[in-house]
Symmetry: C2
Subunit: 312 residues, 2 copies
């Protein structure tokens, strides 16, 4: 057509307001696609979640998706609020660590056909996509490792919640102890108490009352921090004598003296699988409604053996 002149003018126009960029908001309103994925964790400042967030972020950006991180503080009300909030913003997908009481809301979200993947924990009687690790086996292997290195009185410090991942860790510990005919010693702290003086007192009391303990297994990274801090405060020598193992690895454990043995969750694998599933779900949406199966991935954690559990 003979509109080359017009075209030229248009191009010039463009060059003039060189910094034209389409309004993504309008685009999203029209297309129903925001290219945003929500990544909801307990606490974004927790090392484990922050590392994972970074991995997710990198993969998502590669594929043209942006990630919104948020912390639900393991609180049902906040979790539901956040889900509603993002639903109203029409985000394309959800990666969520659910708090214990949001099964209904998660069920609703799943039914709405918006891509959804849970991780870290799940609802056994709800058919959703999820990526978790085999917590029971990881805790079992860790406990066995400690017993095999000659420790006999192994304490287990955990938090008193009904979440699957914590329950499974406890099961693994108990199973290994029973198998060896050893008596378990458990401290169940209320959630959130780990950063309070009461939590510290409870941990101190636990060690005092169980003075025969020769090793301790902390079930999550923040308990390890508090636990080690309490021990160091009350009885610094004990840090070298006690066998110590913990769930969730951290770079700082390697440079401790003694360095701390840990169950390391496979961060890269978790992040990669989460995004694989998410991207598949996102891609599928447009296609014909196949009776899509849910993806349920269980990964194995690895045991990082260090000085704190060496045979004495």
């Amino acid at each position: 057509m003979g509109i080359s002149e017009e075209v030229t003018r248009k191009i010039l126009d463009h060059a003039a307001k060189i910094n034209y960029t389409p309004n993504q908001l309008a685009q999203s309103l029209r297309t129903g696609k925001t290219n945003i994925i929500v990544f909801m964790v307990e606490d974004i400042s927790n090392h484990f979640f922050a590392k994972l967030a970074r991995i997710i972020e990198v993969i998502a950006y590669e594929k043209g998706y942006k990630v919104i991180f948020c912390s639900n503080e393991n609180d049902d009300k906040k979790t539901v609020e956040l889900i509603h909030l993002f639903r109203d913003r029409k985000v394309d997908g959800y990666i969520i660590i659910p708090s214990a009481g949001v099964k209904e809301e998660i069920s609703l979200l799943r039914d709405s056909k918006i891509p959804l993947v849970l991780f870290d924990r799940y609802f056994p009687d709800l058919d959703t996509n999820y990526v978790i690790i085999d917590n029971r086996n990881a805790a079992y292997k860790a406990t066995r490792h400690v017993t095999e290195n000659g420790f006999r009185n192994i304490g287990f410090v955990t938090i008193d919640v009904q979440q699957t991942q914590m329950q499974d860790r406890m099961k693994g510990y108990l199973e290994a102890m029973e198998e060896k005919g050893l008596e378990p010693h458990m401290l169940l702290l209320p959630y959130r108490s780990y950063k309070t003086p009461e939590g510290r007192k409870a941990i101190a009391a636990f060690f005092q009352q169980n003075s025969a303990l020769d090793a301790v297994f902390f079930s999550t990274n923040y308990l390890t921090l508090t636990g080690l801090s309490v021990i160091k405060e009350n009885d610094p020598e004990k840090l070298r004598e006690l066998g110590i193992i913990t769930f969730d690895d951290n770079d700082f454990f390697s440079i401790q003296t003694p360095s701390i043995s840990a169950v390391a969750q496979p961060l890269e694998a978790i992040g990669t699988r989460l995004m694989e599933i998410m991207l598949e779900l996102l891609g599928e949406k447009g296609e014909k409604e196949a009776p899509q199966e849910t993806h349920q991935v269980i990964l194995e954690a690895s045991l990082e053996v260090r000085e704190s559990t060496r045979a004495r």
Copy 2:
């Protein structure tokens, strides 16, 4: 009016589709307000940034704003891309750690009158809002503290970048050393090398070539981690002999043996001030265009003295 019947029906309608919620996308398109604030840092998985992110998130949610976190990897290209991306999404405000070469882009963003606050570092010749700490003085005080406890050959391990915060830390160190008539020993590593074998080698070589060093000052948290790891690998005994101090505190430093002295940035204060400024800017927008002044906040860091720098 006599539309009570209609009203009733409407209410019933509402009750029927009980889960009606306004489409935020359309609302934002119409009003030009998204209630989203961007929080752009170097790396969200870095402890310092993750903690700060959490503080910002809490304040923002209280005020009805959501936060999008992202990592610019200290890369100019990625920073610019991210800014464009969010500009097209019409976010309401930006809190940014700028990489070194984005002065122009930051200048443009500032001129567009969208609320903007920088932090951690700034551009000396660009009049923007920012919140930083007094890095020079913090490093000066830390170095002085080490010299006052009898250390003489104090090494300074840092990264070779032109960012104000790193330059200032170096200045503080040099100033304190000069004042005491001590000879400085510096290792300038290329950015990003801290996680490579080359970086580790360079650090090992530094300690080998400067065998008279009796103390070391790491200029940022990730260097401390790598540095301590290298020392532990090559000469574990040295960890107890060497005076050690580091920029950026971490809970794990307290439980180390010996515990590690650190310059602690005031996280709460930084987060609070950033959001105070941001909220003020957000509120102001609608009001009459007062010749608003920029806010330039310089906070003091505190010195956490622990075992690693005690007098020998």
